[in-house]
């Protein structure tokens, strides 16, 4: 019917998140916001970070967008993982996720640190889909860097 790889790409957990996404809906008063588009399919997301005044702690992630099951589930899973993280730790997790996504299946995402978002590990074998999984995380990174530019990863 369908292969084990496909079943692993579209685990029930991922399909559930895509149907019932966490954090969906924009909220007034965000500390930072980023809009990202996947040019190959036109999918887009607007993601907001709400940071507790006088602290570095993200109290809420909210987002709105449309796209494939992978991109919607990934935004939802990011929202779940990001709850109560500091901006610095959030940036570390984004880096970690990106490294796993770009590994073509070589690196399993760390479930300890990424939580259920580790279920997206199967995506990294499908290079055409990595952008789908990364869309929300790239938006989150842009939002983090608006607040803390010094956290920018060094390229190279």
């Amino acid at each position: 019917m369908s292969s084990a790889e496909l079943q692993s790409l579209y685990q029930e957990l991922i399909l559930d998140h895509s149907r019932h996404p966490q954090g969906f809906g924009l909220v007034d008063g965000a500390s930072a916001q980023s809009h990202q588009v996947n040019p190959t399919c036109g999918d887009e997301i607007t993601l907001q970070l709400h940071v507790e005044p006088g602290s570095d702690v993200v109290t809420r992630v909210s987002w709105e967008g449309h796209g494939c099951a992978i991109s919607q589930a990934s935004a939802s899973l990011f929202t779940e993982m990001a709850d109560s993280l500091t901006l610095e730790v959030m940036q570390q997790r984004i880096d970690l996720f990106r490294t796993a996504m770009r590994s073509r299946g070589a690196i399993e995402p760390d479930e300890e640190l990424l939580g259920d978002a580790a279920a997206l590990g199967g995506v990294s074998k499908y290079i055409a889909r990595v952008k789908c999984a990364m869309l929300a995380w790239v938006a989150a990174e842009h939002a983090v860097l608006q607040l803390r530019p010094e956290l920018a990863p060094r390229e190279g």
């Binding site: 292969s3 790889e5 496909l6 399919c41 036109g42 796209g67 099951a69 992978i70 889909r129 789908c132």
Partner: protein
């Protein structure tokens, strides 16, 4: 394949004919994700028969040299093959040899026209080039169903010249809405650029009607023939357009080669776009005199093996017969649309628009994104296009962000279309849209 087998004149190819055609395409025996490849993405790029691969290889092994320069034997052989390829293309579309300009692809062809017109507006070219000068008050008209390649070059030309870009809208069915055409194509219209066959909907546009309107107001016509040249017998002289473009790689030819057709008198009045070697007569340190068309537009070393490969592709298509190909694809296209639209939750874009269409269909699966549909199909070795197919405005008009497109060609079979339809049905189950 042998044409002796082509006894049936209408309908799909016989099993023996299909088998013979498929045997010419090495890639069609590929296995993808443990399933035989079902290639339904020819609208993006077609596969290539051995005859095309052999023509390119043979050129490099036996005749390779730069063309239109050099006095040696290979230079003469290469030049002859290159110019023969031009004649083959010219005869294929009912044009004269000097009306066929080589480009990299159709996109470059449209940009060539737009930039050459812009150059005319800057005072480049002879007195004849004045007819191409655009400015405030002039209008360029396209349609809402254009591929981005026949939209953005005109947006840019309008921005550079002060002209206004307008468009013929698409109705809810996906047809061009010609009800207000008289207020869109007017005495201000200088260019009317439109696609022959929609790359999303597969419907054939009313070329004669649009050309007649353009002629009435004295506008130039530019036809995007990318999705018609591979699939329908095309005669540009009969269609009476001023310019037309198409790409070799969508019609069994190599990538990197495309064709711009233009009426000789217009091409010879246009200033060049790209400049450099091979397009001049006399050059001093201050200025240059240009060759007539087509060489005026062919600066630099040309895509020689690709042109020869395209000529081989055209001979292949002619050997099978464009009428037979169109009849075969018509059967596949009707089966595709009927099968898909019978499934719950599937909407075929432009289904209500006209009956004259090529063998492709784009569709929306309610509740499932096209990327997910495409991924599911790929798992069975079925290759389709997903996304907006470089036609964002048309998708927006039809109320969707993206769609899944299955596009057939002469090497596809009824069985492959049925596999696609079954795959889409199973995808809706897999993603939980229906029980």
């Amino acid at each position: 394949m042998s044409t002796a087998e082509s006894t049936t004149r209408a309908g799909a190819f016989s099993a023996a004919e299909s088998h013979a055609i498929r045997a010419d395409f090495p890639i069609l025996s590929a296995v993808v994700n443990d399933s035989p490849l079902v290639y339904l993405d020819s609208g993006a790029t077609s596969q290539k028969p051995r005859q095309v691969l052999d023509a390119e290889r043979s050129f490099y092994e036996n005749d390779n040299a730069a063309v239109h320069r050099g006095a040696h034997m290979l230079a003469a052989l290469a030049t002859e093959s290159f110019e023969d390829a031009r004649s083959t293309v010219a005869r294929f579309v009912g044009a004269r040899d000097d009306e066929i300009v080589w480009t990299s692809n159709a996109t470059e062809g449209i940009n060539l026209i737009a930039y050459a017109m812009g150059n005319a507006g800057l005072g480049r070219g002879s007195a004849d080039a004045e007819q191409f000068r655009l400015g405030a008050g002039d209008e360029i008209v396209v349609t809402e169903m254009e591929h981005h390649a026949n939209l953005i070059p005109w947006q840019e030309l309008a921005a550079r010249t002060g002209a206004t870009l307008r468009f013929i809208p698409v109705d809810d069915d996906g047809s061009l809405d010609l009800s207000g055409i008289r207020s869109i194509v007017t005495a201000k219209t200088r260019v009317l650029a439109f696609t022959h066959v929609s790359n999303v909907l597969g419907i054939v546009n009313p070329v004669a009607e649009l050309v007649a309107l353009a002629k009435e107001v004295g506008a130039l016509t530019v036809l995007d023939a990318c999705q018609s040249a591979p699939h329908l017998a095309l005669n540009l002289a009969d269609l009476d357009v001023d310019f037309a473009v198409f790409s070799g790689h969508k019609m069994l030819g190599p990538t990197g080669i495309g064709v711009l057709y233009g009426r000789a008198r217009l091409l010879n009045a246009l200033p060049p776009f790209l400049t450099g070697g091979s397009m001049i007569t006399t050059v001093t340190m201050e200025r240059a005199e240009y060759l007539p068309a087509p060489m005026r537009f062919e600066a630099g070393t040309q895509r020689i093996s690709q042109a020869i490969g395209l000529a081989a592709a055209i001979r292949y298509l002619q050997n099978v017969g464009l009428d037979r190909i169109a009849a075969h694809e018509s059967v596949l296209g009707e089966r595709l649309v009927a099968g898909l639209s019978a499934l719950p939750g599937i909407t075929v874009l432009g289904q209500g628009a006209g009956s004259h269409r090529v063998g492709l269909a784009s569709f929306d699966v309610a509740g499932v994104h096209s990327h997910d549909v495409g991924q599911f199909l790929d798992d069975r070795g079925i290759a389709v296009r997903v996304g907006h197919h470089c036609a964002q405005p048309l998708h927006r008009r039809l109320g969707v962000t993206s769609s899944t497109r299955a596009s057939t060609y002469l090497y596809n079979t009824v069985d492959e279309v049925d596999q696609l339809i079954a795959g889409v049905a199973d995808a809706t189950t897999f993603f939980g849209v229906r029980p």
